[in-house]
């Protein structure tokens, strides 16, 4: 039972992720309209692209969910014909993996805000590493690079950490999370 995700878990994760995939695409047009300014204001909203992992994990609370969610969100974006096509797929895998490692570090047992923020920062770190390989941002002048990093980290913490956390809180209030979480022993006890 414990091993692996059930069909329900997988499907729910992927659907959440694909929903975010749509958001990502819309987000992309905002992002690229501020990007050419070059002053990295765009980096403040970059963090949105890390949100699917933490949200899915906080809803399902199971191992592997964060990674799956980021991959699925990226594939959703990919299939919908995002011009970023394959790039997002590569980025998605690495970002999801880093967030997953954070949740694993807490043995998949902690679901509070600090964990969300840490996961967001891990995804952010992953994206920076990818950027070094892909965009050669290492060659940017120092002041520009620092601005870039700060903006991206701050944005990540806000979107993928804080926003993700509160979004799940609101969703919990609708009772939808009970569908995918195990029933407590207390509920069984009430049957007698």
């Amino acid at each position: 039972m414990k091993k692996g995700l059930k069909l329900t878990d997988i499907l729910v994760t992927i659907v959440i992720a694909v929903a975010f995939g749509i958001v990502y695409i819309l987000w992309g047009s905002i992002y690229y309209s501020v990007k050419p300014l070059g002053l990295h204001l765009d980096q403040l909203i970059y963090g949105m692209w890390f949100i699917a992992g933490p949200v899915a994990f906080f809803i399902l609370r199971k191992p592997g969910v964060a990674l799956l969610a980021e991959i699925a969100a990226a594939s959703g974006e990919f299939f919908l014909g995002s011009p970023w096509g394959l790039t997002v797929l590569l980025y998605g895998v690495v970002q999801g993996l880093f967030a997953e490692l954070v949740f694993m570090g807490f043995k998949y047992k902690k679901f509070n805000m600090p964990v969300a923020v840490l996961a967001a920062m891990a995804s952010c770190l992953a994206s920076v590493i990818m950027d070094f390989a892909y965009g050669e941002i290492g060659a940017l002048s120092t002041w520009n690079l620092s601005l870039f990093m700060i903006a991206r980290f701050v944005g990540s913490i806000f979107f993928a950490g804080v926003t993700a956390y509160y979004l799940v809180k609101v969703l919990e209030a609708t009772g939808v999370t009970n569908l995918v979480r195990p029933v407590s022993n207390k509920d069984y006890a009430e049957l007698d």
């Binding site: 209030a173 009772g175 009970n178 195990p182 407590s184 069984y188 009430e190 049957l191 007698d192």
Partner: protein, 487 residues
């Protein structure tokens, strides 16, 4: 003989509910039996079916226990909601999915798929499921169950959304394919079902079995119980009409028409899906729209609500619709699929929603909501999420939420499907009361009793055209015009 499905001392409770939904319920079915489960809306029929099939707790985790539970090994299940039982984009792929699960060789698939389509009266090939009407989807769902070639078939109101013809066809079909199978049915509208089944299980509001026996015995001995619990039985309508005779008089002939459309078309994906030559609607009318599945009834309502692109003349209260700022100030709408319209997190807030936006005082909101909760029998569920309700409850909630503020016109898309008799009559009386106050009711329904007993006017839609407009009001203004279609 060993029963093929059985449960003993079933106890079950939804987390957060106050009381158990089933308390020590025992029930068993023999091989080849055809059984009908009857009970008021919300008593737990769908839930029970899910337990018997093993979906609860294998796929849906709900706290339950039973001393003994025997689920069948080969079974098929038709769900109440036609929309979310498919996992593939195209109709043929959906049936193929089932065949794949059964390891049917690829070479045989094409032919089998066509066979199954033919059996349920679908003329499809590689057709996208999204473009099917509600009724066609339900047929597809039945086709995919047939593809399973199951020993036991569970049917949860498989025809709730079908037109009368389709309903009859499906039941004829199920009779045919279910001959040597065990069939366990939940259905409110039992006209066509009765000749098929041999045993009836009656449930009451608390999910207890009040009777279980051969069909004829139950029907003759338990009439009172059935009436009391709002269960449909043959002759309910006649009894009801004798007691509550809707007048169907139509007195509001003065003045401008509320709606006036001419050469009016509605488009989906740039394709014309509905065309109306000319129609005028006055206040205080009760218009029933009928027609086959996929004819374009819902599309007509959507066009009138301006949810889709339209062309042609359309005047609302004498003003061209393009100039009317908020058509929804004058009209309200109940969607065919109730879930589409839920926007709040609890039943109570769902009804209160429009009132809150309208900034009504808290006290008025509370009074109004409470009274609606009572009329629509949802008091016990006021803190639940709308999605957690039973099908009938959802339907009632969607109506309640839409009519909480009076509008001049109410458009309803099949407001009574999946309802027990008590609730159906309550809804109808509620609409009739509105109508007498001069509000116009336009409703899509497949229920012939409603057109026969309540409607003052009937529109028939066929292949995207309103082909007839009969005025059957008993007094006052008479305007009977039959329009030619433009086909």
């Amino acid at each position: 003989m060993e029963p093929i499905v059985s449960v003993e001392k079933l106890r079950m409770k939804f987390p957060g509910d106050e009381s158990l939904i089933f308390k020590d319920l025992s029930l068993s079915f023999d091989q080849g039996e055809k059984v009908l489960l009857l009970g008021p809306s919300g008593c737990g029929k769908s839930t029970l079916l899910q337990v018997l099939s093993g979906l609860i707790p294998n796929s849906i985790e709900v706290p339950m226990k039973a001393e003994k539970l025997k689920c069948p090994s080969s079974w098929g299940y038709v769900f109440q909601d036609p929309d979310s039982q498919f996992c593939m984009p195209f109709a043929d792929e959906e049936i193929a999915f089932v065949l794949e699960n059964l390891s049917v060789p690829k070479e045989e698939m094409k032919e089998k798929i066509q066979n199954h389509f033919r059996k349920v009266g679908l003329n499809l090939d590689h057709t996208s499921i999204d473009t099917l009407s509600g009724g066609m989807k339900q047929r597809l769902a039945i086709a995919s169950v047939l593809a399973l070639e199951p020993e036991v078939i569970f049917l949860d109101e498989p025809t709730a959304m079908l037109d009368p013809e389709g309903t009859k066809e499906i039941w004829d079909l199920l009779k045919e394919v279910g001959k040597d199978k065990t069939v366990i049915i939940v259905e409110h509208k039992i006209d066509h079902v009765l000749e098929f089944i041999e045993r009836i299980v009656l449930l009451n509001d608390d999910g207890q079995i009040i009777a279980d026996g051969p069909r004829d015995t139950i029907l003759s001995l338990y009439k009172n119980e059935m009436r009391e619990h709002g269960i449909w039985f043959p002759g309910v309508w006649d009894e009801y009409i004798q007691k509550y005779a809707p007048t169907r008089e139509h007195q509001f002939t003065d003045g401008l028409p509320l709606l006036d459309v001419q050469g009016f078309s509605g488009f989906r994906n740039k394709e014309e899906k509905i065309h109306v030559e000319e129609l005028k609607v006055h206040s205080g009318e009760w218009i029933v729209i009928r027609g086959e599945n996929g004819a374009g009834k819902s599309t007509l309502l959507h066009a009138l609500m301006q949810f889709i692109k339209t062309k042609g003349t359309y005047e609302l209260l004498g003003t061209p619709i393009k100039i009317v700022k908020n058509p929804t100030d004058h009209m309200t709408f109940v969607f065919q699929n109730p879930e589409f319209q839920f926007v709040a997190n609890t039943v109570y807030e769902e009804i209160a929603y429009s009132l809150r936006i309208d900034k009504r005082p808290q006290q008025e909101i509370d009074e109004r909501v409470r009274s609606l909760l009572k009329v629509f029998r949802l008091e016990a569920h006021r803190d639940k999420h709308p999605f957690q309700l039973s099908m009938g409850q959802k339907r009632r909630l969607s109506v309640a939420a839409s009519i909480v503020i009076d509008k001049k016109i109410i458009l309803l898309d099949e407001p009574t499907f999946g309802q027990d008799s008590k609730n159906t009559f309550a809804l109808l009386e509620w609409f009739e009361e509105y109508r007498r106050r001069g509000i116009t009711v336009i409703m899509v329904t497949h229920d012939e009793h409603i057109s026969k007993n309540f409607a003052t006017r009937i529109w028939t839609v066929k292949d995207g055209n309103v082909i007839s407009d009969e005025n059957i009001a008993q007094a006052g203004f008479v305007e009977t015009k039959v329009k030619r279609s433009v086909m």
